[in-house]
């Protein structure tokens, strides 16, 4: 038997669907150019994709046909040589369509395998986000703002080809740089893209992540009943009505916290989170009312606290808030837990203001997708500069 290679690309659904397809297709075509057969496919269970909700693509390559066929007899790979996260906030874990519960981003990595992340963060920040693994693996960063665009207009900022260059560096037995460049020229007919791949190849370095590094939390899981264990008519219980909240200072109850779907929390969809200035809030209700995810808990003092297990970071609350800088969306990499902002504010209002201002002033750059025609043309030069200069 020959050798089987598996690469997974974890991406944010519709926002990165074309990007993920370009990468997995590029890997398979480059391997093919070296005489190795392969197949590129999306995980069926993730379909139909949404924007933001994590999904997966796979590139499977064998050194010969029989090895590939044997490898493809499985529904999807149980271990991979390389995991690619095209958005750094995916390092916090993944709750996709195809899965109930939280999956660590490095879950399928083989010992010594490589995790490639597109990010402007340093390795330490990313390692702290990833769940711990029982054996060492390698982390490589392709520097840049995670590339987001919708289904119809693609942001061609060279993220795809730079990742192909990094793959060639990390796993030369799978594809060499020469084959990658050949495929890029054939597919895109753009010598600059081939150069970007070569620059990424030259610059890619790895950090070894040890088993004692990373997030020690155990990811949550659910054991769901089988269909034959359900009630007649395959009926399932509704969500219970919610309850008023309790103020921890005076133990008075008031406001409302809805019960929420326990088997899908949605927070791993989030790439930005709202931070709320409770001191300037005028209690207009709009963030709470217009939130498509019912993520705001109504507090006993009539404020609105975005519940960080339910918020998926769409930003509508910031858009509808009539007060300047009362609700501000901040890059999710700046946070380490899902704690209640309202409780933090109640405990120490001055400390909360300092924390809040720090988050708003130092928010790392982040872009969600199409806002107006011509926007991507404004954003790509900076990414091309990074591709060129590192």
């Amino acid at each position: 038997m020959g050798r089987l290679f598996a690469v997974e690309i974890v991406y944010r659904g519709i926002f990165q669907k074309t990007l993920a397809k370009n990468i997995s297709r590029g890997i398979v075509l480059a391997a093919h150019a070296e005489g190795k057969p392969g197949i590129s496919f999306g995980r069926y269970g993730d379909s139909p994709e949404r924007n933001g909700i994590p999904a997966k693509n796979f590139a499977i390559v064998g050194t010969d046909d029989v090895t590939l066929e044997e490898g493809m007899a499985k529904y999807e790979p149980t271990e991979v040589d390389i995991s690619i996260a095209v958005d750094d906030t995916l390092c916090k874990g993944v709750e996709s369509w195809a899965w109930y519960g939280l999956q660590p981003i490095n879950r399928l990595l083989k010992p010594g395998g490589a995790l490639i992340v597109t990010s402007r963060e340093q390795p330490d920040a990313l390692i702290a986000m990833c769940h711990r693994k029982e054996y060492p693996y390698r982390l490589a960063i392709v520097k840049g703002t995670p590339s987001f665009s919708g289904l119809w207009v693609y942001k061609d900022d060279h993220t795809d080809v730079r990742i192909l260059g990094a793959v060639a560096k990390l796993l030369p037995d799978l594809v060499g740089l020469e084959a990658v460049q050949k495929v890029i020229l054939a597919e895109w007919r753009d010598p600059l893209k081939a150069t970007s791949a070569a620059r990424a190849y030259e610059r890619t370095t790895t950090t070894t992540v040890r088993p004692d590094q990373g997030n020690p939390e155990k990811p949550y899981q659910f054991e769901l009943p089988k269909w034959w264990e359900m009630r007649e008519g395959i009926a399932i219980p509704c969500i219970r009505p919610g309850q008023p909240m309790q103020d921890m200072d005076n133990h008075k109850t008031g406001g409302f916290r809805p019960e929420r779907n326990p088997t899908f929390k949605k927070f791993t969809t989030r790439t930005m989170r709202p931070v709320v200035n409770f001191d300037t809030c005028i209690k207009c209700t709009l963030c709470w009312l217009q939130c498509p995810d019912s993520c705001f808990d109504v507090t006993p003092d009539g404020l609105y606290d975005a519940n960080m297990e339910a918020c998926c970071g769409c930003g509508v609350c910031e858009a509808v808030c009539p007060v300047t800088d009362c609700v501000t969306m901040v890059n999710e990499v700046a946070f380490h837990d899902n704690a209640s902002q309202w409780e933090m504010w109640k405990k120490d209002k001055d400390a909360y203001q300092t924390w809040l201002n720090g988050k708003i002033e130092h928010r790392p750059e982040r872009s969600h997708g199409f806002r107006y025609r011509g926007q991507y043309e404004e954003q790509t030069p900076e990414m091309l500069e990074i591709a060129r200069e590192g």
């Binding site: 139909p48 359900m230 509704c238 969500i239 009505p241 217009q290 970071g313 969600h368």
Partner: protein, 343 residues
């Protein structure tokens, strides 16, 4: 019209209009944890629809995003009872459920009480596949039910195939713009609410809404549920996945659809047409109608438009406002008006 002689309609749930956003009930009947896109306005419609209807409500959902994303295996966001029904059958499911409840109560098998029956469908399930069943349901005056069509202007669930509700020129999986032919979709959007109101004279309430104007939308739902008999609401829902925009724009795009005059807000109650909200301001000249380009160019699905395409779109919307018999509602032109315009 007087149908009391032949029709026996049970009293509906008493639902007074909400007086303001601060008077809204805090309870949610459609809650967090659905697998919709970030910034999904259709999920917002479900939340507000359920909030307006209250706890004594049965919801039936035909296939589409609001079925597939909200209720995956053993997982739900519904607090009130919900059942899936087939793609084209929101009308028949609503009528069957309403008739079943009525019969059970008449036979004493259930406590006699007003229960709301709402069936929702997407534009594919409603304006395309389910049109005949919705039409049939709206001709039966003896059942209390609401059919709510959440229109995100494509079959968005299965990755954006075009529907009868997709606007002119939009990029969809079935209409990708090419180098030779730029506009692959040249049909104009179906006028669902106007068609159903005009075609079903015994239906007492038909309305359009957009949940960027949440309070007005919820009051439409309340009126539809309390007036008695079958009713229909058509909601326009911005869709970040299919329209290709940053989800932070979801709310603003709903407002722009109304402010550009593309999406008129109106209700037809017992045969009387009333424009409401922002649309009323546009019609009365209190607020200028914005150019459609402000709406179109914030969406990737129209990014291939050239000036001539924007001009065509604007011309069609202008026609709707300046030449239609009832602006935004009934697309007929009176002869006298034609003469006046040509003169």
């Amino acid at each position: 019209m007087d149908t009391t002689a032949t029709v026996e309609t049970q009293p509906g749930v008493k639902l007074d209009p909400f007086k303001g956003v601060k008077k809204l009930p805090l309870e949610e009947f459609f809650t967090s944890g659905h697998r919709t896109c970030q910034g999904c306005e259709s999920a917002l419609v479900m939340k507000m629809m359920a909030k307006a209807a209250g706890p004594r409500t049965i919801v039936l959902g035909s296939t589409g995003c609001m079925y597939v994303a909200n209720t995956t295996y053993y997982s739900t966001s519904w607090v009130i009872p919900w059942m899936h029904t087939q793609l084209g059958s929101s009308g028949s499911a609503a009528m069957g459920s309403a008739a079943g409840l009525k019969a059970q109560m008449r036979k004493g098998k259930m406590k006699k009480e007003p229960i709301n029956v709402i069936a929702f469908c997407g534009d594919g399930g409603g304006a395309d596949m389910g049109l005949s069943a919705i039409s049939a349901a709206l001709t039966h005056p003896d059942y209390n039910l609401l059919i709510l069509m959440y229109d995100n202007e494509s079959y968005a669930n299965t990755d954006i195939q075009l529907s009868g509700s997709t606007p002119y020129g939009a990029h969809t999986t079935f209409s990708p713009p090419g180098a030779t032919k730029r506009i692959m979709h040249h049909r104009w959007k179906k006028n669902m609410a106007g068609m159903l109101a005009a075609g079903h004279p015994t239906c007492r309430y038909v309305a359009t809404m957009c949940m960027s104007y949440g309070l007005q939308g919820m009051n439409c739902v309340r009126k539809a549920l309390s007036i008695g008999g079958p009713t229909f609401i058509h909601s326009l829902d911005p869709c970040p996945k299919g329209w290709d925009y940053d989800p932070i724009l979801s709310h603003e795009l709903g407002e722009l659809a109304v402010a550009t005059g593309i999406w008129p807000l109106y209700e037809v109650k017992d045969g009387v047409v009333t424009l409401y909200g922002k649309t009323k301001q546009l019609a009365e000249g209190q607020s200028p109608r914005l150019p459609v380009r402000e709406y179109l160019l914030k969406q990737g699905r129209f990014a291939h438009f050239r000036e001539e395409d924007i001009e065509y779109f604007q011309k069609k919307v202008d026609e709707m406002w300046e030449r239609w018999l009832i602006p935004g509602v009934i697309p007929f032109v009176k002869d006298v008006e034609d003469e006046r315009i040509s003169a």
